[in-house]
Point group: D2
Chain length 253, copies 4
């Protein structure tokens, strides 16, 4: 029996004249594409092309929904009314699904972006608001998020499939949370080490924290960064490392 | 055999703190709602509520797509690349369709808004761009527009249903075009006269132009204004006038 | 010796096709206009006209700066980096000052809007960020805000003039804070009562709280609401009540 | 007596997470920076930093005003009412001037961006609208534009200084207009040739058109592209070529 894992990355984050990341290269490496939906990034032409290329490459498309904040790239917490957040998520979900439809595919999961992703780790009102949108739109859509988050708890409570993910190149603390970017050990830069961590996770369900502790982490998908310098090289190395270890790549949705 | 006609109006054009028109009242009078899609007007919460109330009232929802220009309310011509226009239309169409879906209905036709509506009377590139979006999304969706427009010609050429409309309270010139708003006779204010014109149109296919000429006009739907002062009163009077004349009201889509 | 007071209200909050409030009427009643700056409301044409009419009416213009959030009307807390907030405030301040300049006047004070106003009551980082902008732009500009707020403390610490204001038609708690809008007594609707409270404040520095306690409040300006139904009537009644009591009206800046 | 020339380039065109061009490198090469004003590009933090660095480098700042169209980067003609265009230009001018002010400098000229630049070559209504803004704001500000344009004619008619510019790396037709980007010879890629053309222009007032004709061109400034690949190398080569020829560099404003 082969062990499989999903690799996901954020794509479609260019906007008009401004480009970000190398979507075409990443689409050759990942199995799931978290495609922006226009609120934090992604004009319609970028999004349509990203969905079409994902479809051609056999990569599953998820809706990467965010706050309506282009100037802040969705990275600033916005204290929205939950009803309005549900509606903004629905709007984004429908828009991306329409662009998938004309590419012959459909949105197959949802993942919050940036500050919304971080907010719904603890913010129960916003977590439920996101889940309410998914349930109303299509209760068959899985929700991708942080293990132990309010989002995944709300998704499960609502009868949705909750999919936890692992951050391949981020340091973990002994409690299983991510090391903040401002602290040492927050980011790993060695592709071999990163690939090794993913193999370890799949084999034993463990990751070594910055203090040396072995921490149990449950994950069905592995998140790779798509827009940092070296993102493509890192993703390629992780994929090669997994394949060399006989681990298959397969979308979770 | 009863003669039937469709009444359409622009709805869902509030935005956040700013309200426009009396959507609830208009939904009791029209048979088709041209609902904004967020680019020229309409936040997600407004749009979702408008779709839900239209569904409750049995009013058919159409996507009223426009240029991405909130500051100009979509009333300023934007010289877009046709490819980008197609994609912007698809994005809007999908977004509104998602909000319809959670209300148990679906977008049933498309009508361009404001400056885009006026542009596609003559601008063949933009007309084809709009039609390309509809055909890619759902070739069963009719397109609502001005009789004789490049838009309706392009829709027919693409195998779509092209639905011409009549402007109940606008003056017509002898050539069958609308009298520009800056000229005398551009707007009619007497509900009885307006209702009479609609009856005449349905009975004989004729409208009396500002210079007295009788002009042939082909129309399957009658457009009422939704956001002017007195819009609700005018719409109610037209509807009552039609019902009194034994004319039935029925959505075209 | 005549006692004087300043009356301020939020103006310039229309946006494109959407109008809000009756700016012309309010400019005949207040002495200071908190004019929006385009980030939460106010297109350039609205803002220019509002500044020009304020200048004609002899009403002092202040910059009502807010979060970059048209969809939320600046009423949702946005967790901005303080450096970016300072820069956004500077951008707004300069823009409005340019529109004042062509009307022959200048921005004479600054007041935060909506969620930013509420945030800087307690959020010291954002309070300092706003003050940093004012100090860098013109250290002679006063800052208008809530008595006891972090904003006014930061303004004083930076050597700026800090101007506390009183909310004429809002209920106060025994601790001197505003009764939340969701609780009974949050809003007063009787113009005579509202005018009486302002007279009491000016005479004795006291306001009767919802529980009957007499609370000391320090204020150099009185805020009137500009966009609620009945706003103009309330403002006119307050003004008339003050004039009848021999209280003069004079801008604080 | 030394011959002098001004080199100008578009800067400050990043937006939030998205960066464009190498502003720091270009500020070491040009004498005038056309800094975006937030409508087609440029968040407040980018703009403030660009103005501050220009001030440090002794580079003069001009306001590069554009249509309110982030999604289109101001490169799509927008058929605005001239009154609204004047107001939008004033808003942008004031905003950038405020960011200059806190850097100890001021906006010293105005240049339209993108589709607005192209529109005001022929569109007299929009040309006058831009000029009206400059005249109202500061009649001492020069306007930079295409030789022979409606913009420069309107500026002169209004008593403003009209400054014509030369495009160093663009091909010219025999009639003195630019070769459209879709035709052969539109872009020059050899820095030595480009520098030679600028020297020729300064010495003789002539440029060799794509068909070999010698065309008279009047220019007080030379525009370099700031955001194309190789932009910095081209700018450095042009500057070095001018200096080698004993031509001094000096801002026109």
């Amino acid at each position: 029996m082969t062990v499989h894992v999903d690799l996901n990355a954020d794509l479609g984050e260019s906007f008009g004249r401004w480009t970000l990341g190398d979507d075409d290269a990443m689409l050759g490496l990942v199995t799931s594409a978290n495609v922006a939906c226009g609120f934090h990034a992604g004009d319609a032409t970028t999004l349509r092309r990203t969905c079409a290329r994902a479809a051609e490459a056999g990569v599953v498309v998820g809706a990467q929904v965010g706050y309506r904040d282009l100037a802040g790239f969705g990275r600033r917490f916005l204290d929205m009314d939950p009803v309005e957040l549900t509606d903004d998520v629905l709007y984004q979900l429908g828009a991306l699904d329409g662009l998938c439809r004309v590419a012959g595919v459909a949105v197959r999961y949802l993942k919050p972006h940036g500050a919304l992703y971080n907010a719904v780790v603890h913010h129960e009102g916003q977590a439920r608001a996101v889940v309410d949108a998914v349930r109303a739109y299509d209760s068959g859509l899985p929700v991708l998020g942080l293990p132990g988050s309010a989002l995944l708890a709300a998704a499960e409570a609502a009868g949705l499939r909750a999919v936890p993910e692992f951050f391949a190149d981020r340091g973990y603390s002994a409690s299983g949370t991510l090391v903040p970017r401002s602290e040492p050990g927050a980011l790993l830069h060695d592709p071999a080490e990163v690939a090794g961590r993913v193999r370890r996770l799949l084999a034993d369900g463990l990751v070594r924290a910055v203090d040396g502790t072995e921490v149990a982490v449950r994950a069905e998908s592995v998140c790779l960064h798509g827009d940092s310098p070296g993102a493509v090289g890192m993703a390629a190395a992780v994929r090669a490392g997994l394949e060399a270890a006989g681990i298959g790549l397969r979308a979770f949705a």
